[in-house]
Subunit: 205 residues, 2 copies
């Protein structure tokens, strides 16, 4: 099935399935079921079977899913059976926290550089990386054919930096800045905003 | 309509509508339409009308939505027409970034305290707050009747801290730790995980 035919809402759930499967694997489980996944994730088992059916199913009636096999398939579907180089823009508190985050590489992403435009930050060490001048970004993107960036700059700088990223050929932006970015249709933005999560939970309070 | 009758997936979208309406308001717009919201958010206008119909509609055929009115209604529905006190656990890079985040208070949340268990962090200033000893958490939660917490601690500490939060009566946890928390059914967890966003976008790469 071509990418465009799978509803976005289904794609949204695939990383959650993958994370849960890897969690179950760490618990030394080899087989799971749509019911177990549903219970763990707060979804219905019918939903999970339907979502996976877009890609061919992966389970046999009555025998459940082989966790290792389903992890492998989901990683292929999500294109994280490889490692994507990622540029991190912003070396403030948030940028530093992200640079220290240990979960990227085993999930398909490698931070290869961190950029900032503040002279006092440029050259300083953050984890295994050194903060580079924003002026160096075009060269790095070109040399490493980078397609993915994380935007961890203040709100008032985000639009300008995002425009620069798009101009350089970045087509996936994980946006931590609390603004809506205007990008061309071929560029995807995933907005990480704590307020959205808090408001979502407040509904149930 | 009672809370339980609205699908979670609809509730998930309400904060996105609210954010977009506030964005349009900042652009000095007074009226919008389901079509404009749909175009801006990458959804269908039918979806937006259907979502809002769970709560009574709010628009008249042909005249669109009055932005101020819809903002007010959505804030009431989401229970953010008041301000919730929030405890932030973890004063590392991420905790500090969150403490400096300016977007909480106008969206219904106020960070009232930040906690850590590292002696060298306790007492230090982070924005307008001072880091408090985790041992002080129960008193603060009781005194301020806190129901919402943000968990910004390392993965290996998250389960223990989450259990403590639940024990103290916290019923909404914004979880930044890269692990799945086991909590009772009456406690909601909203997991913020950069990997989920990156994998989602990688599908389209």
């Amino acid at each position: 099935m071509s990418q465009d035919q799978v509803p976005e809402i289904v794609v949204d759930r695939l990383p959650l399935y993958l994370r849960m499967l890897e969690f179950l694997k760490k618990e030394d489980k080899a087989i799971t079921s749509s019911q177990e996944l549903a219970d763990r994730l707060g979804l219905s088992s019918a939903q999970i079977r339907k979502d996976l059916s877009y890609f061919g199913g992966f389970g046999k009636q009555g025998t459940g899913y082989a966790i290792d096999y389903l992890i492998k398939q989901l990683r292929q579907i999500l294109h994280v059976d490889r490692v994507w180089d990622v540029a991190l823009i912003g070396a403030g508190d948030l940028g530093r926290a992200l640079a220290h985050y240990q979960g990227f590489e085993q999930q398909g992403f490698r931070l290869v550089a961190i950029f900032d435009n503040a002279p006092k930050k440029i050259g300083t060490a953050v984890g295994d990386l050194h903060v580079q001048d924003m002026a160096e970004l075009p060269r790095l993107v070109r040399e490493k054919t980078i397609r993915v960036a994380i935007l961890a700059v203040p709100a008032d700088a985000a639009a300008t930096v995002a425009a620069k990223l798009v101009e350089l050929g970045i087509c996936a932006i994980l946006n931590y800045a609390p603004i809506t970015l205007n990008v061309p249709p071929n560029v995807r933005v995933y907005h990480i905003d704590p307020v959205i999560g808090l408001q979502n939970m407040a509904y149930y309070l």
